[in-house]
């Protein structure tokens, strides 16, 4: 009895702060991050993750190891590691097919197999090694999983992330089943990850730098130019790609203005204007707003778990190495061009995220390192898992562009009073210069008025009417005043929609 009383007392003592927090939802109420212990003999700098049969994982590391991980879907104490291969040069892509594990390392795609059953690979067959390497460390090669046509994609970072010193640096290439290498998209700068949406369309993340104002999520349409002209000399070796696109304007300051002087929407060095002139230029589907969403974009994972990861089925989860976080992206297609919005999703990973993958149970595995590029996480490397707790966060589910505003859907019914009040919202429009100089600030800032907020009959969506939409701009929308029907604020109340196209209806 005495023991029981003490226990009750403890529960009461801890219950008070917990109840206080309950009024103020946090990410961890909805998504739980589990950190795995990793093999002591190595630095488990996760750089790629693939699913294997029987619920196992293959994990590639920056040190060039590939580990087979068992039971990562259960209690962390049950996790077992087996070193499958070592000595590879930065494994930035893993894909499993027909009993072979395909790795993308610095200079080749190779397929690996354990033929003796000892858990260690003994065959390392080269599938394709036809792209160039110069010995520059920044010439990373990111590999995809197999796409819907059975091809692998390889993203070739520019030499030093600035120029293209060897063949097809700055390109997205496809490796066909016969091992041939097909130049597919130009204009890549410094990729951080590649993935597919629910329809199998291919996307990649690219990082801020010359010709890249912010980090972005690019839609890899075969034949497209993704914006950085550094690698365009290789069009001469890519007859399938047609003629080399015209070059973008290096930098434009009209009327003798200096950088930073305010002249909204007149400078021609904007993606929005240049894509009219450069027909191959595909605008970034989503700008991953620099400093706010992240600083160093990395993996892309699509939730295909059929609801096991929460209410964001078929949306994309895009990680950031520097911020050690994951953002959430929803997409739509208007006039044949992909566009969409990004919201913060989950922070607090232990190191800089690089590799990630979701299993059929809706468990998201993520890991990385802060080596060479600092990360907020604070640990030199990490391997973690995200599980949905089963509780639905009150979030903006998606936004869809309309001729005069956005249709905003929420994950839960809204409180009609706050959601129907224009004072619950604020908005800001801005863009970035599209220019040769490294990165750049947010420019052309405009504060539009939200003139109407109409709650739909379903009680879960709101039609926002703007006094003006600006094609090409990022539309930053704050939802600070909106409450759910049961009084919760929006968990992540600000999002950024990249409006490449304004629909006619």
């Amino acid at each position: 009895m005495k023991t029981l009383r003490i226990l009750t007392g403890l529960i009461l003592a801890t219950a008070t702060p917990a109840m206080l927090r309950a009024a103020d939802p946090q990410e961890s109420d909805y998504y739980k991050i589990t950190t795995f212990d990793t093999p002591k003999e190595t630095a488990f700098e996760v750089s790629s993750i693939e699913l294997l049969p029987e619920g196992k994982l293959a994990v590639g590391t920056r040190r060039g190891e590939i580990w087979t991980v068992s039971n990562a879907d259960s209690e962390p104490a049950n996790v077992k590691y087996q070193l499958f291969a070592s000595g590879q040069h930065e494994v930035l892509g893993l894909a499993f097919k027909d009993g072979w594990l395909y790795e993308t390392n610095r200079y080749e795609v190779a397929k690996l197999k354990d033929t003796t059953g000892d858990g260690r690979a003994d065959k390392f067959e080269t599938v394709c090694d036809k792209w160039g390497v110069s010995g520059d460390y920044h010439e990373y090669a990111f590999g995809s999983r197999f796409d819907k046509n059975g091809d692998l994609w390889v993203l070739l970072c520019l030499t030093g992330s600035f120029t293209s010193q060897t063949e097809f640096r700055g390109w997205a290439m496809r490796v066909k089943p016969d091992g041939s290498l097909v130049p597919t998209c130009s204009g890549i700068r410094s990729p951080g990850g590649i993935g597919f949406d629910a329809d199998g369309e291919v996307y990649y993340t690219d990082n801020q730098g010359p010709w890249r104002g912010p980090n972005n999520l690019g839609h890899l349409v075969p034949g497209s130019f993704q914006g950085h002209p550094g690698g365009n000399k290789w069009y001469e070796k890519a007859p399938n790609m047609g003629r080399r696109p015209v070059d973008p304007i290096p930098e434009a300051f009209q009327n003798g203005r200096k950088r930073g002087d305010h002249a909204p929407h007149t400078d021609p060095d904007r993606i929005e204007f240049e894509r009219k002139r450069i027909k191959e230029l595909v605008p970034p589907a989503v700008c991953l707003v620099y400093g706010k969403i992240g600083n160093s974009s990395s993996f892309i994972v699509c939730d295909l778990s059929g609801g096991k990861f929460g209410p964001f089925e078929k949306q994309l989860f895009v990680a950031d190495q520097s911020h050690s976080n994951i953002a959430r992206v929803f997409l739509e297609e208007v006039n044949g061009v992909k566009q969409g919005g990004v919201f913060p999703f989950l922070k607090g990973f232990k190191s800089g995220l690089i590799g990630g993958r979701m299993n059929e149970k809706g468990q998201l595995f993520a890991g990385g390192s802060d080596r060479g590029w600092g990360a907020k996480g604070g640990q030199p490397f990490s391997f973690e898992r995200v599980d949905w707790t089963g509780k639905v966060p009150f979030e903006v589910h998606a936004m869809h562009a309309k001729p005069d505003g956005f249709d905003v859907t929420f994950t839960e019914p809204v409180d009609a009073k706050t959601a129907g009040n224009v004072a619950s919202y604020t908005a800001r429009q801005f863009t970035y210069a599209y220019r040769e100089e490294y990165g750049g600030p947010e420019v052309d800032e405009v504060f539009p008025k939200i003139t109407k907020a109409t709650v739909a009959a379903d009680g879960k969506s709101v039609r926002l009417t703007f006094d003006k939409l600006i094609q090409g701009d990022i539309h930053e929308v704050h939802f600070d005043g909106v409450r759910s029907a049961d009084g919760k604020p929006v968990l992540h109340p600000v999002g950024y929609f990249t409006l490449n196209e304004i629909p006619a209806k």
């Binding site: 630095a43 920056r62 040190r63 060039g64 070592s86 000595g87 590879q88 040069h89 930065e90 390392n105 610095r106 200079y107 080749e108 190779a110 003796t116 260690r120 690979a121 003994d122 065959k123 390392f124 067959e125 080269t126 090694d129 036809k130 160039g132 390497v133 110069s134 010995g135 520059d136 460390y137 920044h138 010193q165 060897t166 400093g291 600083n295 520097s322 080596r371 060479g372 590029w373 600092g374």
Partner: protein, 544 residues
């Protein structure tokens, strides 16, 4: 008597003997790190005349020792020199015969220890110590500093920072500006990384410094861009303006014993951003106050800091180790393999052969596994050979003595060759596969004997399937002098230089049916070719 007592001593321990003699014994334990070929402590300080009990505990899987040398000795070179006469060195347990050797442990077997009892020299100085087993000293080394000279001064306490945003060409009056952000600096070391600002920001650091006694103190600063140090509100060292951090500015101030206010102002305009600060007192050496160390302060008393480009050796045990990375001399598609038997190669998947081979230790991964992973890394061993050229291909059809051997221009790919990958056999030895003009070639290496001893050989076996083009020959070696010797050839290859280190490239090669043709030693291509390369034991060429 004294010795006996010391063996049971636990430090620090006062030992009383008759006559009221008291000596404080310092006990130091130095361990080896498993599979890293390193000591866990690389620097320690002792006072002149100090009684020391040093426990050397070998936790590694191979024997090691600890040899101390007189100040100024190049202990690494001395240890490495023993490879010139390995048989004699082996008999001495690799303890060098040299008058500069001051103290040494015995060869300590794995999982055992040796205890050295000694009185520190009266002569102040830095006494290097190394493990003198072959190939170990280059990374298995450290320093014992005798004297007050190497002593560190106090560090900062209560360090806080204020971060300002703005564009400046010289240091502004920060007191008139509003900080963008401020906070504590947890490790009390001045540093630049706050948030992600790269350009147009300023920092003010404030903290306390405790002067150990009355006297004159020096403050040093080097900054990119401007910086200055103020003590008790007075400017002592000034490095203002936009410039690189190459010049160290020094200012002196008399301080009374006790706590003083420290302040450092800094701003960054654009480009490189660096900041170094340190202080020095009458009884302590240059002591950094910044996280980063100025290149000129390498010899300063400093917190133990690992050298990021060495110290992660890949130690070959029973199985070969594969390391695909930027190996100096290994080309852009090099596959490093360290073999049991103390020889290693970098096999090139663009030139289709062992573009370099060496003996001794395999590779140090630290350069690639710390930081971003760039840079060419030298082999960790020595006597690097390039048996058959840097960018040359292995095969030619009907070459003449004068015709140039087929090469691949740098940055291009060999048109007739294709790389197929490798597999690992039961002993985890790789076999490389590639194709040439309809022939399928596989190539495997192993070491016969010990490459560090006289008779060791690196044996390369090629197996060729498919149709062999008529007149096809393989070049197994190239050099200005190829002379037959008992059962093989002595080759004087072209000298090679890797990262500024020169190698003579002199070796022996044996292969059946070889002929000398000009500068080339060739064999007709046939289904199986066995080649052995070996090192003459004349001398060793070290890398470090």
């Amino acid at each position: 008597m004294f010795r006996t007592i010391l063996f049971s001593a636990v430090a620090p321990l006062l030992i009383f003997t008759t006559g009221a003699f008291a000596a404080e014994v310092e006990t130091i334990t130095i361990k080896t790190l498993k599979a890293q070929m390193r000591y866990d402590t690389t620097e320690f300080d002792v006072k002149p005349g100090q009684k020391v009990k040093l426990v050397f505990q070998n936790d590694d899987d191979m024997p090691h020792n600890m040899c101390f040398f007189q100040p100024g000795t190049d202990a690494i070179a001395l240890a490495n020199k023993q490879i010139e006469n390995p048989d004699a060195a082996l008999k001495r347990d690799w303890i060098p015969e040299d008058k500069s050797l001051w103290l040494h442990s015995k060869a300590v077997q794995p999982k055992t220890s040796d205890t050295l009892i000694f009185t520190a020299p009266e002569k102040p100085g830095v006494y290097p110590f190394v493990c003198t087993f072959p190939g170990h000293a280059a990374i298995m080394n450290g320093k014992m500093t005798v004297g007050e000279k190497g002593k560190r001064g106090p560090g900062l306490t209560g360090l806080k920072f204020q971060l300002y945003l703005g564009e400046w060409k010289t240091l502004p009056d920060f007191s008139k500006l509003k900080p963008h952000r401020e906070g504590d600096v947890k490790d009390n070391l001045v540093q630049l990384k706050f948030d992600d600002y790269k350009n147009d920001f300023g920092l003010v650091f404030t903290g306390k410094l405790d002067a150990p006694k009355d006297g004159e103190y020096s403050f040093l600063i080097a900054s990119d861009d401007g910086g200055r140090i103020l003590i008790d509100g007075k400017m002592i060292a000034d490095d203002d303006g936009i410039h690189p951090a190459s010049t160290v500015r020094e200012g002196r101030v008399k301080l009374t014993k006790g706590v003083h206010d420290f302040r450092l102002d800094y701003f960054q305009a654009a480009g490189q951003a660096e900041l170094y600060a340190a202080w020095r007192g009458a009884d302590f050496a240059l002591t950094p106050l910044t996280k980063a160390l100025h290149p000129d302060w390498k010899n300063a008393a400093k917190p133990k800091k690992k050298n990021e480009n060495s110290g992660m050796p890949l130690v070959v045990a029973q199985e070969p180790i594969i390391y695909r990375n930027f190996i100096s001399g290994g080309g852009n598609r090099g596959i490093g393999v360290g073999y049991p038997g103390n020889a290693s190669i970098a096999w090139s998947a663009e030139y289709f052969g062992p573009v370099i081979a060496w003996r001794g230790a395999f590779m140090d991964a630290a350069r690639h596994w710390n930081g971003r992973g760039g840079g060419q890394q030298l082999p960790l061993g020595f006597d690097v050979l390039r048996p058959a050229g840097e960018t040359a291909l292995p095969f030619a059809v009907n070459p003449t003595a004068d015709s140039p051997w087929p090469e691949v221009p740098k940055g291009e790919r060999a048109a007739d060759y294709s790389w197929k990958g490798y597999d690992l056999d039961a002993k985890r030895y790789p076999t490389f596969h590639y194709e040439w003009k309809g022939s399928r070639i596989s190539e495997r290496f192993e070491v016969e004997g010990d490459a560090l001893a006289g008779q060791g050989k690196l044996v390369r076996v090629l197996k060729i399937d498919g149709s062999i083009p008529a007149g096809a020959v393989m070049r197994v070696a190239t050099g200005s002098a190829i002379t037959p010797t008992g059962g093989g050839f002595n080759v004087t290859g072209e000298k090679l230089s890797l990262e500024g280190h020169a190698f003579d490239n002199v070796f022996q090669v044996a292969v059946e049916g070889a002929t000398v043709s000009g500068k080339n030693l060739t064999v007709p291509l046939r289904p199986e070719i066995k080649i052995s390369y070996s090192w003459p034991n004349l001398h060793a060429q070290h890398l470090h």
